[in-house]
């Protein structure tokens, strides 16, 4: 418990119209740690993750990411400059990859370095090439997304998210759109990032992966956190009835 705090949120609320999706979430994550968010569909996992980079703006609560601290109040918007600054510190990997189809793999990874960071093309290219190597796709630099498999596209997307050297990487079910045989390659890259000390928040339904890679797991249900702790506790020895029920449904583990 000696590390510095990277993410801290307090009493975070978010509604879509009259539907309250996040009902007061509290969380902390230390630098270099991996947090997995699990829970049934519709429980608010994606919404919570999207709050971390303000793709959704919370209605109420406090959020601190790195040095940056934001207070949310209904009706008070967040300044554009703050939003952009926060997004430069966080990278996001989407369920459906969302690569830019009109750009090659390497151009996808170069884009924000040039447009957002103002780096030279040469510098951006060399960083992009390095990241491509890291995700095991050094030979696909000039391929367009449609020429790549889902697993390869998702690894390019991870490289793209890392190109701005973010403090935190956010993953929304990064393998759920993939054919089963392609899942392993993507998880391997995420494991490697974890081993290198990247701070990550991963929404996933891969229980075994969450158990192996995460330092901390939270389980959500109905917009609240119903279980929180180290994997051996949350998955191995859950206490809340809803957690037990969910885990029974999605895993082969006998948790009763």
């Amino acid at each position: 418990m000696s590390g510095t705090t990277m993410i801290e949120i307090n009493n975070l609320h978010k509604s879509f119209g009259s539907l309250e999706v996040l009902k007061g979430i509290d969380l902390t994550l230390e630098k270099g740690k991996v947090l997995a968010i699990i829970g049934p569909s519709g429980s608010g996992k994606t919404t919570l993750l999207r709050c971390f980079n303000l793709l959704e703006v919370p209605d109420q609560g406090m959020m601190k990411i790195g040095e940056m601290s934001l207070q949310f109040q209904q009706g008070n918007g967040i300044r554009t400059a703050d939003t952009l600054a926060l997004r430069k510190r966080t990278g996001m990997v989407f369920q459906s990859f969302n690569l830019f189809p009109h750009m090659t793999a390497i151009q996808n990874i170069m884009e924000a370095q040039v447009t957002v960071q103002g780096k030279s093309k040469a510098a951006a290219r060399s960083r992009a090439a390095e990241l491509l190597g890291k995700v095991g796709l050094g030979d696909k630099a000039d391929a367009y997304p449609h020429q790549l498999s889902g697993g390869q596209q998702q690894r390019i997307a991870i490289a793209r998210a890392m190109a701005l050297d973010p403090d935190v990487l956010l993953f929304d079910e990064p393998t759920s759109a993939l054919d089963p045989e392609l899942v392993g390659d993507v998880l391997k890259v995420i494991r490697q990032l974890a081993a290198e000390g990247m701070t990550m928040v991963i929404v996933t339904h891969e229980m075994r992966f969450a158990e192996n890679v995460a330092d901390h797991i939270v389980m959500m249900d109905g917009g609240v956190i119903v279980e929180s702790g180290p994997p051996e506790q949350v998955i191995g020895n859950p206490r809340s009835p809803r957690a037990i029920q969910f885990l029974n449904r999605v895993t082969n583990y006998d948790v009763t």
């Binding site: 980079n53 793709l55 554009t80 952009l84 600054a85 997004r87 430069k88 966080t90 990278g91 996001m92 989407f94 459906s96 969302n98 690569l99 830019f100 189809p101 009109h102 750009m103 884009e111 924000a112 447009t115 957002v116 367009y144 997304p145 449609h146 793209r160 998210a161 701005l164």
Partner: protein
């Protein structure tokens, strides 16, 4: 065909071609280029979060689409002289066609921008891009590809519509063919010759359009 008719045909081909190359094509190119700028700006205004922009752009599109092009040309060329604005027929025609291309084109551009998946905006935003950067680097290039086929059709329509400029004294190909008919009394022959030249121009344009479509489709499956 009589010898006289062959002579008339040969004598009219050169003036017709000249009118096409020196009047019809420049008017088409200039109006289309300016019209595209108006179309993109109008589309962005209609998608803007600023309501007065949306209102003005919507009004403009409504007026242009709801009135005949020939009438618009007459208002610009003849009508405006009554408030002291005297325009050359080329200027008047360019304004008229630019406004027309801008209005119809803006609907095409707007539809293309809206057809780009939300995930593209979100990916751009998640990388810290501003809305403008996302539009310029991510959305517009993809929307451009979607809009090439319909804009190509507008371009070809425009080339033919420039014949309307003959009625505001612009010496484009159709007006020149009318003048030739007036002296030769060979309407079938001369108008057919003009038709063949229009057809030739449109064929070249269609061919260029398909090359452009292939180039832009490079990155997409199918």
């Amino acid at each position: 065909m009589s010898e006289r008719q062959i002579d008339i045909l040969l004598d009219s081909l050169l003036p017709l071609l000249k009118a096409g190359v020196a009047f019809t094509i420049p008017l088409t190119l200039v109006s289309f280029a300016l019209g595209m700028i108006v179309a993109v700006l109008t589309a962005l205004a209609r998608l803007s979060s600023i309501w007065p922009l949306r209102l003005v752009a919507g009004f403009y599109v409504w007026v242009i689409r709801g009135t005949p092009l020939l009438l618009q040309l007459f208002i610009i060329f003849y009508g405006l002289t009554y408030v002291g604005i005297i325009l050359s027929s080329f200027t008047a025609a360019t304004i008229g066609f630019t406004l027309s291309v801008g209005a119809y084109g803006s609907e095409i551009v707007r539809g293309s921008i809206q057809s780009i998946q939300k995930g593209q905006w979100e990916a751009a935003a998640s990388l810290g891009m501003t809305r403008g950067q996302a539009l310029r680097r991510i959305i517009i290039p993809q929307a451009a590809r979607v809009s090439v086929p319909p804009l190509g059709n507008s371009f070809i329509s425009l080339l033919k519509d420039t014949s309307l400029a003959g009625s505001i004294m612009y010496l484009e190909m159709f007006r020149v063919s009318q003048q030739i008919v007036a002296t030769t009394y060979e309407p079938l022959l001369v108008y057919s010759a003009a038709g063949v030249i229009y057809l030739l121009f449109c064929t070249v344009l269609t061919w260029l359009q398909s090359i452009l479509e292939k180039r832009l489709a490079r990155y997409s499956a199918s």
